[in-house]
Subunit: 238 residues, 2 copies
């Protein structure tokens, strides 16, 4: 099990799914906007469908077919592509802009703010998310996430799981990859970080995409695994 | 006088001199390292001489003669250039590395942490400094500076007062320049920010380079001026 004695100086966090519950938050916030306009949808299905466009949207950037755009831009394009499936063919630019910002109003899983505060006592802590800086700032202010810095895709100019996103985060803190631990609820994120030499911490989020849909344990070997972030903090000696 | 009603959403801060007392901190921390090795210098003069290499070092980057390097790298090169003037001709790489990091251990002016906390209640707050991310993180952890994000030179890939440093900070928060206020104790920094459309806030730091050496008031027209950061917060309605 890793411990400060093993030289971990910074913890990097995946955010969507790992620290915040995007699914019920996007459903709730979308209903607030579209329900007022008279739409009645399956709001959780709407959130799932929007999130379903997430990886294909980023892949255009990762593959070099599109220049880097911040995730807000991709979220909006993904919405435009997906909305007709829900009968939303003629949303105004203003409504599309408003909806795009629902991703700035996601709620943290309950234990996260206090656990991050515990972890900050010993480690530098930063999101290494595909979300853009302004989105990360808004989630932090909403939920009281005490980041030391906002790292991730916008700093690197590319999207996870591209190696440079993890390596740019280490470089920003002047640390070797072996001094940094990626924390995520997704084994593929951790596998990509480990391939660059980072340590890995897994958190179970069994309900990320709905009850029983998320990873309850990692599918790869990791340095530490927790039931949630509070458990991970305990296992890191805090 | 600017107020939240006038649309300012974010405050950007110069750090060296404006928020932290680099002079007495560098003198003290350098003495801790070099005094132990038997050197007896005028430590304040040493700090002043090191800082004196600051603008020429960055100018190589701003003029395009050197690729962007983080300020830690420039601080070390500036030290190597300046140290012989103090009889320090043969410092080891280890001592040079240790000395470079004294810039990560600067003390905030006394009112700064509480004033930033007040300001954060209404504004997004971020350093827009020429210091690198890891340096800003270390100063924040040492002094309890509750940043929303670390912006500035390393994000922009260039040094103030180049326009892109200010504009990259606005863009990172999805704000127009008119929604952002640069806060500094140096009129030239504020003039450069204003030229890009940012609002401006001045803080008096009359003792930055020693008693009576700093700006007691701005030499240009600014939107708001404070005796210190607490006074500025009050004048911004907090």
């Amino acid at each position: 099990m890793p411990s400060p004695e093993l030289g971990v100086r910074a913890l990097f966090f995946d955010v969507f799914g790992t620290l915040v519950d995007w699914r019920t938050s996007v459903a709730r916030e979308s209903e607030l906007i579209l329900g007022t306009l008279g739409f009645e949808l399956d709001w959780l299905a709407f959130a799932d469908a929007w999130r379903g466009e997430y990886q294909p949207g980023m892949e255009e950037v990762r593959a070099g077919r599109l220049p880097f755009s911040k995730l807000d831009v991709l979220h909006r394009a993904n919405l435009v592509r997906m909305a007709p499936r829900f009968g939303l063919d003629n949303l105004s630019d203003e409504v599309l802009d408003d909806l795009t910002l629902v991703w700035h109003r996601l709620d943290a899983w309950p234990e996260v703010p206090a656990a991050l505060t515990r972890l900050k006592a010993r480690f530098r802590i930063a999101p290494v998310s595909n979300g853009n800086i302004s989105l990360m700032v808004d989630l932090a202010r909403r939920n009281g996430l005490p980041w030391d810095a906002i790292l991730g895709a916008e700093i690197a100019g590319d999207y996870k799981p591209k190696p440079r996103v993890y390596l740019a985060a280490c470089a920003a803190l002047d640390l070797a990859p072996s001094q940094c631990m990626m924390v995520a609820a997704h084994s593929n994120d951790l596998a990509a970080a480990a391939a660059q030499g980072l340590r890995t911490g897994h958190i179970a989020r069994p309900n990320e995409h709905g009850p029983g849909t998320g990873e309850t344990s990692p599918s790869i070997e990791v340095d530490v695994a927790g039931r949630d972030l509070a458990d991970l903090a305990t296992k890191l000696g805090l």
